[in-house]
Every structure is written in C-alpha cells, then in structure tokens.
Symmetry: C2
Subunit: 254 residues, 2 copies
C-alpha cells in the first residue's frame, strides 16, 4: 500500500493537520494506517497523546540504529498507530550529515521490517528541507503537498517543485505528487486568485478538493482528537473525507 510523505518546507501550511485528519479518515475506512511523526517539534505525537519523554522511545532511536521501527509503534488516541517524534530528532538534520546512508535509512527500515504490508503509511514532515524531510520523501512512493491559500505559501511551491524534480532524477523514479490547497477561505478574493494561479501552474497535479478554513480543524488538537472525533458534522471533517475519496479514486492510496 501507499507510503505517503506529507511535505512542504513552508511553515504552517497544514502538514500536521493533514497528516492527522487523513490518517483518521483512512482509519475510519478500515485501512489500518500507520503515521510517523518526523518533526522534532512532535506536534502530531502531542495530538495523538503519544508524546514520549525519552528519545529512545521515538523514531530518533531508529535513526541512531538502536531500535527497529516496529518496537516504536504506539497507539494514537484516534485508535490508529503512530511512531512518535522527539526534540532530539533535530540532531539527525544537523549532525548526521547528508550521506546517502542516512537518507535511505527510513526507506530501508520500512521495507526490511514489512511495516507497509497491507496498510498505508503517512509521514508528517517538518518545515525544512533537511535529512528528515528528505528521508521521508525517499521512504515514500507518493508525496502530498499541502499549500495554504496565501501568497507566501504559493511562493514556496517553486522550491517544492524544484526539489521533487531533482529527487525524481536522483532516484530515477516517478513520484506521484498531488498538491492540495488548505485553509481556503471562499469569502476572500485572494483565495480564488490563488486557485486560478495554481490550476494554471500545476494542472492535474492540483487536487480538485480544497480544505476549507474551518475552526474545527484548529480546535481539535486541544482535546487530542482528529476533526472527525471533535466535530464530525463540520466542514473540515467533510473536506478531509472528500479529499480521501479523491485520492482513492486517483489510485493514490493503493
């Protein structure tokens, strides 16, 4: 099944919100997903109530080659599974360097331990193009790129495009990579201008589904829940459901 990296080096575009709610939507449809938190700030882990005090219990100990991934899996509040992050994970970005071994370690671990057999994996990236995010992209066969409906995020799309094309070249492997607009506020003229601009630039790579700016999506982390548990009737919940419909129809999940 799919190994999905939720990537965008721009901050605050909805990577964690998308990882959380897409994983929750997958779980509710019986896909049995595993999410992996690759952000040293560990926001996904926090929302899932899977925060760990010791880095040994986080994905950092896998990068240190101390523990296998399978041993680090924990239950998330929503009922699915998560491998938590920890603040020490930032050492991977700063001191391990960019040797090909580190970049491929997560990929090899997932393959060797059959972590992906019969279930999709969803990886939350941090807002930086470093070893952590690159190892997530190397471990993925698809990348979902959330882009918030504002100009600084659109400015970041250039860089994302360049990076992913370069990586495709390096890996000699086509990477399915849809972009999804998030925080879309239909009352703003700017939101619609941005949709037009991205449609023109990305064509079919732009998802038809857009995630609306919806307070339920911002509130749910406070009670350690995904939006389906927090506000099942909300626009945010139906948007992430619709996004999953579209991704399934596009063969992005199989």
């Amino acid at each position: 099944m799919a190994k999905i990296a939720i990537f965008n080096q721009k901050g605050g575009v909805g990577k964690t919100t998308t990882t959380l709610n897409l994983t929750a939507a997958l779980a509710r449809r019986g896909y049995n997903p595993l999410s992996i938190d690759l952000d040293p700030q560990a926001h996904l882990s926090f929302v899932c109530k899977a925060t760990v005090s010791h880095s040994d219990d986080s994905v950092f100990s896998f990068y240190q080659q101390v523990r296998p991934l399978t041993q680090l899996i924990r239950p998330a509040t929503g009922g699915w599974l998560v491998i938590p992050a920890h603040v020490e994970l930032s050492k991977v970005d700063t001191s391990f360097g960019k040797g090909p071994n580190v970049l491929n370690r997560l990929n090899q671990g997932i393959v060797k331990e059959n972590l992906n057999t019969g279930r999709p994996i969803v990886m939350d990236c941090c807002p930086m193009l470093g070893v952590l995010s690159l190892s997530a992209i190397f471990a993925s066969d698809r990348v979902l790129i959330p882009v918030s409906a504002d100009y600084l995020a659109v400015q970041g799309v250039h860089s994302v495009e360049r990076v992913l094309r370069a990586l495709e070249h390096v890996r000699n492997k086509r990477l399915q990579r849809p972009y999804v607009i998030t925080r879309f506020d239909t009352r703003r003229k700017m939101s619609h201008q941005i949709v037009d601009e991205l449609k023109a630039r990305l064509g079919d790579e732009l998802c038809k589904t857009r995630i609306s700016e919806n307070v339920a999506l911002a509130e749910s982390p406070a009670s350690h829940r995904d939006v389906f548990a927090h506000a099942p009737g909300s626009r945010g919940a139906s948007d992430y459901d619709t996004l999953l419909d579209e991704l399934v129809a596009e063969g992005f999940i199989e």
Copy 2:
C-alpha cells in the same frame, strides 16, 4: 538601538509578516531600520524585491567569512534596507555545526561593523531551532515571539520558553522577550480562550496588542509591499502601528 530577533520555531505563525510590517512601521517613523533575512526560504527578501540569484550577494557569504555585512545591504521596496537570504543558507544549519564561533559570528559582525549605530535591526528567523535562529538570538538584545491564535502554536510556546531560558543562562544576560498574538480572529471562541491561557502563562510578557487576522496582511506580499503601502486603512496596518506604539512605550526599540 535595539537588535530584535523575530523568533518562533513553529511554522507559519507570522514571523515574516511581523518582520516586514514592524520594519515598515519603524521606517515610517524615521527609525531607519535594517532588516536581515535569515530564512533560507528567503520570503522576506522576496517581498522586499531583494531576491538575489547568487548566494555571494546574500548573508550566506557573510557566514562563509567571504564578505562583510555592510557590503550585502540592499534597498527594500518599502524604502528601508535589507540583507537578503538565499537557499544556500541552509548549509549553515546543516554543515557548519554548532561551534561557538558560528553562533556568535553574526553578533560579532554587527558589533564590529557598527551596523547597529543609530538604527534598529530586525531579523527574520526560519521555523527551526538551528544555527541560523540561534545566531539571530545571540546577535539580538531582544526577542519578539509571534504566536498565532491556534493550539498548535500555543503548544510551541513551551519549547520557546525553555530555549530562551537556557540561552539566558548560557549568555548570563537577561533577554527582553515579549510574545505577540497574531492571526487573532475575534469571532472565534478559540481565539479568546487562547488569549486567556497565554495571559495566565506569560503575564506581562504577553503584548496587549494583538494582530488581527486580516486579509490585507496576507495580500500585501503579492505586490511586494508591506501592509501600510498596500492597504493603509486596514486593520492589519493599524494593528502593527499599535504594536509599535506599545513596543516603543516599553523601551523595546531604544
């Protein structure tokens, strides 16, 4: 005059928007500010129309000890001055390592070149606690921390607190560090709950001024302008003006 780092390792909380509009407000009051872009994604440089194609013309060449800061200063569209960033700046975070020399280099450069004489400096940080952000904090005598009015940003406040206290300890020097709520939407119950929570936690360190969620602030980058030039009558413009009033009254700018 003040050397201000705009810092928060959480992504998308309004660091660049605050650097841009606070610097513009300072310029309009005759303070002659210099802004420094320390984010490899160079969003501030982009808005200021100071994007450079060669890293030699960016602050990266200062970190490489090739050019002095003074040579890298350029005019920003708003009429003030900016030292641009460049994507190669990410090498500072990943390969230069955390030796005390690198961390103090920007500080020493500003002091040695008298960059700060008679004018404030405002530094835009990237969403990561690495060498770049730390060198900005080391080069600053005050830190302004934007916190967007949502729970994941509030979650990040813990880490910011810990980091700044540890640095105060290391430098044996009290660091004035107000927090300013951004993207405040008065119609949301969540916004008000967050204000109460942060007031209780931060006391006087929380600015009374809050920056409203205002589309003018999100639109201005598209025309390479600050909010005063783009929409002088907007709520966003008056909020950043009011924020500057409060900071001046608190002695944060002198």
